[in-house]
Symmetry: C2
Subunit: 430 residues, 2 copies
């Protein structure tokens, strides 16, 4: 839905405006215990608890600026340079409403402008958000986006939680997995038991410094928007897959406890095995859905088989794939094996990388020819499409404020800094 | 394992030999309630009951001849023109041993040769078997093969069952699904409960005349031998997939009862939906196996989505796919929709057909352009490989004797009629 930006009331002189702006950055996270299925669609609570690793924001992040002013006529939202209709985006609106409710007195550190708690109801917000990675291609872009939204509104409104984890519960109402992106490291999202969803919140199990050797190699198999949205897919799965119901009730609790212990003990073999089993079981429940949902393709399957071949060759689980609602692979490993694994994958799926140093190191690495010999038969170049892009990254912190210089919003107009509308009389943009 | 045929003892004049020969033909069957997982590997009993439709032998069959003679020095087996080592094939040997145990007095109708029950232990057999379809590519070739073996030995030995279904139990020890190919129409294989496996037998639910409108369109996606054999795959699945154990115990019984009723009432909508759900759940349990097993590929997935698009377009379930342990699709439908469905599939997956008349009818059929419009986006020609072959077929009878003229064995020598060894002194064959 593309619109050009309509300037606000021309009678308001911008210099007189009271505008405050905050900017935050939020990471994506990649689940190792998968969330698939809502218990309550309105509250966005899940049928099972889940857990994830928060990825480094240097590589994959959403940046969101929020401006507030009593002069803005309405709340507005700009996602990746396109204005979105807030009235048709209930999830965005829910986060804004819930965060506004927690607003306190605020004095802006830059302008000195003060907003009293009681006045927030008459201040409208402009939200401008950008992702540094493909949106809706199964890399949890909504997790980063809603975590950034929640956190930027907490800064803007000087919002205070009424109980610990309340912000994560609000982020959850935007996107379930967003609850986990407020924290860094290894994060659990408790399904919760209360009918009002207030205990369905995220908790940090260990921060990003606990196991600093953890690495993630991401293979972007497709940057196209996925065929079945997570929300639609989950709805059908909960309705039709008996295997999903069994899994949520009987299998996930044991796996979650085991993988938390494995992460805390830095036991990669257990951590990796559960991660792979979880990915496969999630996609199994998608296949058990009626009609079936497919996110993995022949490229994904080739990667899966290659990771198993790698582990078998090494005699232990040193790498673990996981796939969300799309064909893109995230391979968790540790720093000791990252270069070899990258070199192996680049041999079959060469693609541009986010990190020049990692690409060079992989290029210089000599993979054991016997490892190629076991992987060659798995890779059928007549079937397997190239990979679009590779990210080499690690775990990192949760959503965090950024300097004013990083703002996506023009402080004087309250409008997006980039992709401004053309000046009056200019030729229409193509 | 290729060998040339060594002639038997040259001192025995063939004209003096006592040789009797029988020939049978057996169909394949395609399960609608899937068998995946053994309860007892030695007895070859399953963790759940299953059900299938027996396909017409005109299109897909195994033909097996068996010769017996007191002059043969040992049991020998020739599969698709290649001699196999019986001592390393325990499943074949088990069927021969168990059928020989049920042998009775026999008078051969052609030669008049009589064998007394007590004499069978000194008669050895030669088995010659051929399939008319790709072996081990997920089209249940072993079902046809072991059903043919069991039935031809019943004829050869004039074997008598000690209890109803005993022959199906013996065929089961060759290959589980073979138990169902002894009968035509719609057949159930009861898992059974007894420790000795004697109640793990097949039962005909309805013969091939009960619902004569049932059709099957088979798309041979690959004729290559499958990557993971069924036996190996089932073993890993039973060990590692919790979803498989849940399915076998809690989901299959209800589905089996419902699909039997649907078949008896000729309720295609219910029959088709359960068939598709079963196929998907079976492949879901393969994916839930550790390491995961993949039989479906991107072509299979395209076919699945196209069948759902077809049903949605038609407003009811008129076609139902099912996939065994390979990427090949079997689409069940009824005669009223077969031509349209064939025309639709041939548009995207054109391939040679077994039936010239069916191919011509499909070519002449005008598919609604609106149906193409919903199917076109599903078919990505850059990803999807061509289909190798199409079979248009129906349901048919079980294993049955054939005329002596169909024999694969030379009555005077007891050796295979085709692929005979070259005469002494001839140039070696390439």
């Amino acid at each position: 839905m593309h619109r050009t930006y309509s300037p606000d009331s021309p009678t308001t002189r911008q210099s007189q405006r009271k505008i405050i702006v905050e900017t935050v950055s939020a990471p994506t996270n990649i689940a190792v215990i998968k969330y698939w299925g809502k218990k309550d669609a309105k509250l966005n609570t899940p049928i099972n608890s889940s857990a994830s690793i928060t990825l480094d924001q240097n590589d994959l992040r959403a940046v969101t600026s929020a401006a507030a002013s009593p002069d803005f006529p309405c709340d507005r939202l700009f996602l990746n340079d396109i204005e979105e209709d807030l009235s048709s985006n209930k999830r965005f609106a829910a986060v804004i409403t819930n965060m506004r409710r927690l607003a306190q007195d605020k004095t802006d550190s830059i302008t000195g402008i003060t907003v009293k708690k009681a006045d927030w109801s008459s201040w409208r917000v402009h939200i401008v958000s950008k992702n540094t990675f493909p949106t809706a291609a199964g890399l949890a872009s909504s997790a980063a986006g809603y975590a950034a939204l929640t956190r930027v509104l907490a800064e803007l409104f000087n919002a205070q939680e009424e109980y610990p984890g309340q912000f994560t519960g609000i982020a959850r109402q935007g996107s379930g997995s967003a609850s986990r992106s407020l924290f860094g490291g290894f994060v659990e999202w408790n399904a919760g038991e209360k009918a009002d969803g207030t205990d369905s919140i995220a908790i940090q199990v260990a921060d990003e410094h606990h196991w600093p050797e953890i690495r993630a190699l991401i293979l972007v198999v497709s940057d196209a928007k996925k065929g079945t949205s997570s929300t639609a897919g989950m709805g059908t799965s909960v309705e039709t897959s008996e295997l999903l119901r069994h899994r949520a009730a009987n299998i996930v609790p044991g796996r979650l406890a085991a993988i938390k212990t494995a992460f805390l003990e830095k036991d990669f073999a257990t951590f990796g095995k559960i991660t792979m089993q979880e990915s496969n079981q999630f996609h199994a429940t998608c296949l058990d859905t009626y009609p079936p949902i497919f996110y993995l393709n022949d490229v994904s399957r080739t990667i899966i088989r290659m990771v198993h071949a790698y582990n078998e060759f090494k005699g232990e689980v040193l790498a673990a794939y996981t796939f969300d609602a799309g064909p893109n692979a995230v391979i968790y490993t540790t720093d000791a094996h990252l270069v070899e694994l990258t070199a192996l994958m680049k041999n079959y799926f060469d693609a541009p990388m986010n990190n020049e140093q990692a690409a060079e190191a992989a290029k210089a690495f000599t993979v054991n020819p016997a490892l190629f010999a076991v992987c060659d038969p798995i890779h059928d170049p007549t079937v397997v499409q190239p990979v679009k892009y590779m990210y080499s990254t690690s775990s990192g912190p949760g959503a965090r404020p950024m300097a004013a210089s990083e703002s996506l919003i023009d402080r004087s107009s309250g409008m997006p800094l980039l992709a401004m509308p053309p000046p009056p009389g200019a030729a229409p943009q193509k």
